[in-house]
């Protein structure tokens, strides 16, 4: 494989990662966020396998040692197998992560009826405020100040407070 082809593959992998991260940051639809995550993951996998690519003057061979062949003479033109093994695992884990993200998106859609990130955030803030019994935040830089900490049990609070008879 020529230098030109390897450079083209590098540009493709970096482009996929860039497009994926850009979509991850900039898109507002939850479903498209999952799609961008899958794109970035494919680009990262391609980049990892590309790093492990090696070749000698007569080309590269897959990292499979056949019986009867001399392993030491084969090794210099053999592709590095360790990134390949890692990427093999990463592909399967990536599909698992995708399934988890999709199930969370389905749950959020079932609870709030929308997939738009801004609408979701607004409804969650309203929910938290009504559950905590506080006023809604005035602006982004002044969040709701009276939002209580997680509930402390009565016994622990009495022991911590000075001057209170136990």
């Amino acid at each position: 494989m020529s230098e030109f082809a390897l450079l083209t593959l590098l540009i493709g992998a970096l482009g996929l990662v860039a497009l994926g991260i850009g979509g991850l940051v900039l898109s507002r639809n939850l479903f498209r966020v999952v799609l961008a995550l899958a794109l970035a993951e494919a680009g990262a996998n391609l980049l990892l396998v590309l790093v492990g690519f090696r070749q000698s003057a007569w080309g590269a061979i897959a990292p499979i040692i056949e019986s009867g062949r001399d392993a030491a003479s084969l090794t210099p033109s053999m592709v590095d197998p360790i990134p390949q093994a890692l990427v093999l695992t990463a592909i399967v884990i990536g599909v698992g992560v995708q399934a988890l993200a999709l199930s969370l998106a389905i749950r959020a859609y079932g609870a709030y009826g929308t997939l738009d990130m801004n609408a979701l955030r607004a409804r969650m803030e309203t929910d938290i405020d009504s559950a905590a019994g506080t006023q809604p935040a005035r602006c982004q830089h002044a969040p709701a100040g009276g939002r209580p900490l997680p509930p402390i049990s009565a016994g622990a609070r009495r022991a911590d407070t000075p001057g209170t008879p136990a």
């Binding site: 494989m1 020529s2 030109f4 082809a5 083209t8 593959l9 540009i11 493709g12 482009g15 996929l16 497009l19 994926g20 850009g22 979509g23 898109s27 639809n29 479903f31 498209r32 999952v34 799609l35 961008a36 899958a38 794109l39 494919a42 680009g43 996998n45 391609l46 396998v49 590309l50 690519f53 590269a60 061979i61 897959a62 990292p63 592709v79 390949q84 990427v87 093999l88 592909i91 399967v92 990536g94 599909v95 995708q98 399934a99 999709l102 199930s103 998106a105 389905i106 859609y109 997939l115 738009d116």
Partner: protein, 96 residues
Amino acid sequence: MAWADLVIVIMVVLVLVAACAALFLKNLLGAAVATALVSLGVSVFFVMLRAPDVALTEAAIGAGLGGLLLALAARRLGLWRIEAQEESEHAGGPAC
């Protein structure tokens, strides 16, 4: 330019166009299909890079199972529309 170089250039262009389609298509079902297409193109690169096992896994798990998951989730989320006009006639709601 060798034959393999030409194939790689064509596939890189195709994969990047499919990635842009996945991010910018209005139809989210089409975007999911474009994501599966990106996985298939990347599996061709794995074959070129002498990683046949990774290519098999990427084509079967990444494109097949991942695309199936995305399509099922799209149906569950109410994004399953093949044609935009037909849907807007029936439902009358705004396209999201």
